[in-house]
Symmetry: C3
Subunit: 320 residues, 3 copies
């Protein structure tokens, strides 16, 4: 059955989505994965389409995931290293974008250190061009949240009734912000943020998120445990505990995980600091779905690109 | 009808072209563009061909344009970053070239800071190999000139009788040198160079180019206005005016442009210094064809590659 | 006729090969080359397969050769620049590998400065993943040795009875170590290492390699002359002769080469220091097969990738 939602032109944040669109994206993602749930298909859906990645911040994981996704859809993929680019000749971001648009780019995948930058740029591009936010400042990382939700859905089937804990540097994390929005949109009512005061934003409770400063307490009976990467540069702030102290209080160990439900899944957006926010025993253990997130990430990004390019009905063609 | 010219093996400069070859390249370019004149086709003409770009100077715009062009022709495209290459292990350019030739490169796209370098290299490559000059020192940038001429032809239909003004740093500009050669070859008799003495070469008049030191006077009644990028490093020369002074005297404003014909087109090879050589009102205004140059650049480079690889008859196959 | 050997999962060193596998790889390589022996075919054998190169040391030649080989087999090719990667965010090599594996990489091409690193990593990857050693420390460079043997076989037809001289920095050379293993496996009994004491390892004679400190003496009547690159950083060691002294004693000149058989072939793994280990007259002369090594390198790497992916019978499909 066809959803009655208005199709999106850009993929900027979880906030712009409604529940029907989210479900619909899950269904398209399903079709990108083979029945073994481990292999991503290769399909000619975006043949002749040019996807350009514009990363103004370094990234391997996300950029590579989009590159593989674009190639699996048979698109032409262009990777712009901004360090060596016209940007260094003083050209504005907007002029760079206009030029690549004039060079037939259909989809831009953009990461930038300034919050709101991708939405800002979206006001200026031509009608046939689609932007995907691959992370802007501390604002949003919607494809990461989408792949995380897809992973939860794969293991837990439905969202209402779930208890989800997010541990760590929520205040600086665009991933956490997008995850919280997505969880709420999907009807999760018990969302918990666990960490020291210095790493949690104010007003989380006003957003319906319960704050916990004790790890074991926060993990009690949860279905999903999401640990966040603790950026090393945070330790420069004297209010933030040292890596050792952080690990002692918030490091996800087997003992701590025992407070969650026995079938709780463990997630991490990567790259991991083993021994800081998570121990290897858990990261590589039976409850970890961390590498599955990576595999589903490709299928999710394929789905977003296909959707934006107008292939938005799961039963439209035999590729789905 | 088939042109009676001798086919070129390399694309080194405008000087090596005759008028028939130029017309012929325009015709091939036409076939690379869809009837809407905004979309570049994807065709399998160079399937199995390897195109390698060797840029010894940084570039985004030109390199990316060639990359998209090669991929639109279904070639395998190899982008060599010379900074990380064997060049840093002391290998000579020629040995690098010989090796890539032995690795089945068919077409090399080369940019180098030394004038004449690409022509020099062309004496050493194997008979089946084709070189394209993507800019050598201050000598030539023939594919840029070709796309510029194609853009002029698109808007003005024929060349004789046109008045064309080139504003700015002509003395250091390989673009301007190639443009002047192309305009003369196409029969343009009124070519004007506008700028301060320090940025114009001697003997322009001997080449049939009129020199103007006053912008408004030089723009009077022209059909085509080409502004050049003013490299920031030029300002180190005390004979060159500051950016502010340059803008006051030679910046292309709406008021200055009013001296040209009402249907004059405005061109710039990019990247632009807005507020130095051109104001945004003109760069983004109705007379600007700057982004169209970028789109036509891809089609032009596809045409040059196809032509060199022997697909040199506009009606040869159904791809044209 | 089908060889009775156990198929390899990874390509880590020449030591793991038996003679039948080596012959078999030569036969697959034969099928990758057109009958003119100069052109590499383009075939859809690895369509849908993802090949990822992970180079922790700079390289143009080898990385490019693998890239072209992968694309000639129609694989999706991913080139990871480790400098800009998650490695810089403190992620371990193994986590990087696990992530790329979760992103559907089938074949990894790995170069690392630590001897034994690729074999070490091979213990951790998933069953469907294949690793190719593209050079580890001073330990091994098996695809280089394989292409070298293929080149010798092409010119000399069979190996027993051949006399082969390797000149230069054998002690630091992973290429030389892999070559010696391959030559012995193929039945070559007269292998000679020529160079100053400071550049030759101990116990070469225990490996069946004759040591020579005089170039002319060592080259006497040989069928194959392999010169090695002399890394500039070696000259920092006071025991190593200067470039001038090295050239005088071990530089391969026309006069020195005259001591070899008249039909001896000259090889070099590249990149060459002309005027140090070899003169241009020899490097570019009629006995040189240096650039043919480069061409055969692509075919050899195609063969290795195809073999590892299970296309291991030369008569299996019509692509062979």
């Amino acid at each position: 059955m066809r959803a009655q939602h208005k199709p999106l032109r850009h993929f900027l944040s979880i906030e712009q989505l409604d529940q029907a669109t989210l479900s619909h994206l899950f269904e398209i993602t399903d079709t990108m994965i083979d029945s073994d749930m481990r292999t991503i298909k290769k399909i000619p859906l975006l043949q002749g389409t040019t996807v350009t990645s514009l990363f103004f911040e370094p990234s391997t994981r996300t950029r590579t995931s989009f590159e593989i996704a674009a190639k699996r859809l048979s698109a032409d993929y262009l990777n712009l290293s901004i360090e060596n680019s016209s940007a260094s000749k003083g050209e504005s971001i907007l002029d760079t974008l206009y030029n690549l648009q004039a060079m037939q780019t259909d989809v831009f995948v953009i990461r930038h250190s300034v919050s709101g930058m991708v939405e800002h740029l979206s006001q200026y591009v031509a009608p046939h061009v689609h932007l995907i936010n691959a992370g802007d400042g501390s604002h949003a990382h919607p494809t990461q949240a989408l792949l995380d939700m897809y992973t939860i859905r794969h293991h837990k089937k439905s969202f209402p009734g779930l208890k989800v804990a997010i541990i760590g540097d929520v205040i600086h994390s665009r991933v956490a912000k997008s995850q919280i929005q997505a969880l709420k949109l999907l009807g999760v009512q018990d969302i918990r943020a666990i960490g020291p005061t210095s790493l949690l934003p104010d007003h989380l409770d006003a957003q319906g998120v319960t704050v916990h400063h004790h790890l074991q307490e926060g993990l009690k009976d949860v279905d999903v445990v999401i640990t966040l990467r603790l950026q090393r540069e945070r330790f420069a702030n004297p209010a933030v505990p040292t890596a050792e102290m952080y690990f002692r209080d918030y490091g996800l160990t087997t003992a701590a995980l025992a407070h969650a439900k026995p079938d709780a899944i463990v997630m991490h957006p990567g790259p991991m600091n083993r021994g800081v926010e998570i121990v290897s025993e858990v990261a590589d253990g039976p409850q970890s779905v961390i590498l599955q997130q990576v595999t589903f990430g490709i299928a999710t990004r394929m789905a977003v690109m296909a959707y934006l390019m107008g292939h938005n009905h799961a039963n439209e063609t035999n590729y789905f």
